[in-house]
Symmetry: C2
Subunit: 259 residues, 2 copies
């Protein structure tokens, strides 16, 4: 990794064009060829950058550029897209190179996948008398996060059996023509916006065309739900459930899961 502090101007041409006037900035040239241009402040996102695969070539400025004070010209070209970054360096203030080795990588917890996994183990959070059919239930337009079905075969049955799988098995085995299972499609999000409601609506539209599944009810489950998303969901008959990740994690660690 090469770290350069330099007075420079930068031009990007590619999906759009962007220009950075002359100023002092940090240039990070990584081992994979990528380049980041950072200012002191702003966001974690560089002002300009080039993602790998790309190559950096250092050129000597032509007479005109040299006259303007350019001492070095860095050209970073993307291997496929043709995007290019041009760094006109007027003054190098710092220049060091370091060998960092390979990074072991990041371990995360608490992303949507974790939320979905926990919720699959605790479908009672969504409502009573529900059992998991499967996670990532496949449809033609993509997988539904969770597919559940009701296990309401009469109150008397549910009293003396454990909730979840056992009751579900009982219903399935009921000799007297069982009430048709009603399905519940659950969309899991960390933060749900209008787009989440739209997504679930598309799934429901499709699922309800399938006579084996219909009627399918929709539930939007998220750690936070935008007010407009809640309103839109209400309009469309979609229930919303706010999830408490820490509480769900507590239950998960305390009680062994049924599945």
């Amino acid at each position: 990794m090469r770290l350069v502090i330099a007075r420079c101007s930068v031009d990007y041409t590619g999906r759009l064009t962007a220009h950075l006037p002359l100023a002092t900035r940090l240039l990070v040239h990584k081992g994979d060829g990528s380049l980041l241009v950072h200012s002191d402040g702003g966001s974690y996102k560089p002002l300009n950058w080039m993602s790998p695969p790309c190559t950096l070539t250092v050129e000597t400025p032509d007479a005109e550029a040299a006259e303007e004070g350019v001492v070095e010209l860095w050209r970073v070209t993307h291997a496929k897209s043709g995007d290019a970054l041009l760094v006109r360096i007027h003054e190098v203030i710092h220049d060091t190179t370091h060998d960092l080795g390979v990074d072991p990588g990041l371990i995360k917890d608490g992303v949507e996948a974790d939320l979905q996994r926990l919720l699959a183990e605790q479908v009672d959070v969504i409502g009573d008398g529900l059992a998991l059919v499967r996670r990532e239930f496949p449809t033609a337009i993509g997988p539904v996060d969770l597919m559940l079905r009701t296990v309401t075969a009469g109150v008397s049955v549910e009293i003396d059996v454990p909730p979840g799988v056992e009751a579900d098995v009982h219903v399935s085995a009921a000799p007297a023509g069982p009430a048709p299972a009603r399905h519940v499609a659950v969309e899991v999000k960390r933060r749900a916006g209008i787009d989440a409601v739209e997504q679930l609506t598309r799934y429901l539209e499709l699922l309800n065309r399938d006579p084996h599944l219909a009627p399918v009810r929709g539930v939007l489950a998220a750690q936070s739900i935008a007010p407009q998303a809640k309103t839109l969901a209400g309009d469309r008959g979609i229930d919303t459930v706010v999830l408490d990740y820490d509480a769900m994690k507590g239950i998960q660690s305390g009680i062994p899961t049924l599945f």
Copy 2:
């Protein structure tokens, strides 16, 4: 801006928890207090970071940590959210500080706003016999990018007048009861996905309730349109138009706009 190369492990707790095992990394401490943790390679995004407003405090490791080889402990705390980043430094390999000054900022061209502006000047790209009503046409749920209307008042009229405004004016002034104008709502995107179709659908639903506007046809105009978005648009009777930004820009620079 302070640049540190160090062998360190990092823990983030906040919206999720994340852990980085011991390895050599770049730490960038910016003037606004923010911290970036970069590896040599990967993306332009740091492995871990803390966004401003936040403060960095350097602590002396306790006996236990010192025994594990920690020589310095950086704690970065977000001012509002309570998110925290903990950097356990085992070895400092490089440590320099530089004054970069304030960055003049980035100038962009080719973003969605530019596309919309160009398209407003060249509505014929959408179809013949159309005139701009206005950009950012207001509705209760937000502005429609472009609202157009047809100027089809009979072919004979259109032959000997310039397209666009002039023809439109003529139609408006036509003494023999003019055919009602048909409206076209255009959603402009650089890249259109399913969400763009959903957005336009919401607008059309609303616009078509207005007897002054109905019937309103929908057009999705974008530099690239995802296949599923094109399919969904087709299902809903929404036309799609693929835009060539460079070509449109060429026309714009060559021919003065009518508006």
